[in-house]
Symmetry: C2
Subunit: 223 residues, 2 copies
């Protein structure tokens, strides 16, 4: 995973690290950090407590490694969308529609681990809640950075308040995460995303970037 330790001898590990970490990640994703007990982890990972602690130090470290793995395996769409060589409007569109898909994958917990993991926490788990908040802030900062780039090359209106619009987009994604947890389908999330994308169309995307999406991205949802 992360620490490429060289086992210069000793009994080999009898289970797959990443597979165990995946099981833990899904459990944290579904129930959150504190509500996921070691007994649940033990059963889902198919391991004994000493196996878990020997491999992942403690519950908090296990959770942090699960966060890293989630970031690597589940939400690559975000970085891809924001770094793709496409107009800003298209990048944002990919971001929101990618979230619609990622937050409602069949067989996976609904929503985003960074939101569900510890929105509220006990005082003992405040550090975990802060870390998740940092992930959310980083997402928002990534959006803001992309918007600033777009504005710099004339892709967006000069008067656009980058920070405020980034906060709106991050907020919409957070809202989609909760709607997904409440059972929203990928179609419903896509509709929500496209309604939000309509805010892009107001000030006029004078240069039409992707004609095939204009009709969708620029209108209210219709029955």
């Amino acid at each position: 995973m992360d620490d490429l330790e060289k086992p210069r001898g000793g009994r080999p590990r009898a289970f797959d690290l990443d597979r165990a970490l995946d099981a833990a990640m899904h459990l944290f994703w579904e129930h959150g950090y504190e509500a996921t007990s070691l007994a649940m982890l033990r059963e889902a990972m198919g391991l004994t407590p000493p196996q878990i602690y020997n491999a992942f130090t403690d519950k908090e470290t296990l959770f942090r490694k699960a966060l890293t793995r989630y970031h690597q395996t589940e939400i690559g769409f975000a970085l891809e969308a924001l770094s793709a060589p496409v107009p800003t409007g298209e990048a944002i569109r990919r971001l929101l529609l990618g979230a619609a898909e990622a937050y409602s994958r069949p067989g996976k917990p609904g929503g985003c681990l960074f939101v569900s993991g510890a929105l509220a926490a006990s005082p003992q788990a405040q550090a975990i809640a802060d870390e998740l908040k940092a992930y959310r802030k980083a997402s928002e900062a990534g959006i803001a950075e992309r918007l600033a780039q777009g504005r710099a090359i004339g892709d967006l209106p000069e008067g656009l308040a980058v920070e405020g619009f980034a906060k709106f987009l991050a907020g919409v994604m957070n809202g989609m995460s909760i709607q997904a947890r409440d059972g929203a389908s990928v179609e419903e999330l896509r509709t929500l995303a496209q309604t939000a994308l309509a805010a892009f169309a107001i000030e006029g995307q004078k240069q039409a970037h992707h004609p095939r999406n204009e009709a969708d991205a620029g209108s209210l949802p219709r029955g």
Copy 2:
């Protein structure tokens, strides 16, 4: 509060029920249902365990009563906005701007208890998570109902998909709740709300209802 029990004798209660319930509500609001321990409640409410259990049955009942009290004392803005005799656009505007204020009140936990209370939960607390989900669904249904009324009187475009737009608005409010928990100020939340309100302006609120707000409600945020 709710059960108007007649104490036909017996030692009188030595504390104020609503004051104790308020303390519990704020604690649940801040830390969520499961992460709030009896020890924390005991200290915040200034009571002993038997006092709490005698007055509120158990932790789950206490939480449900806190939900009712929260609904009554903290988010009256929502019902007021949706039932006010004003155009639909103005009602939605009051709803979102009211949320911006309610989710960032000084001295209160950020965001909405219905979101923070138990977004993720252990299997034992699934009933609580479901109840909070029902509150969120009811909010969305209330918005949809108001939109349907508006469309029926020609206040909204006939082609508008009420359910989809209600889901967008509910999602934005949920997103605002998370942004508030992450420390967003009331101004930032207002900007977020007004950006979302811009989606209303696209299809054209042909009948200008409140001229003094049009400039704000219909534009992207500006620096």
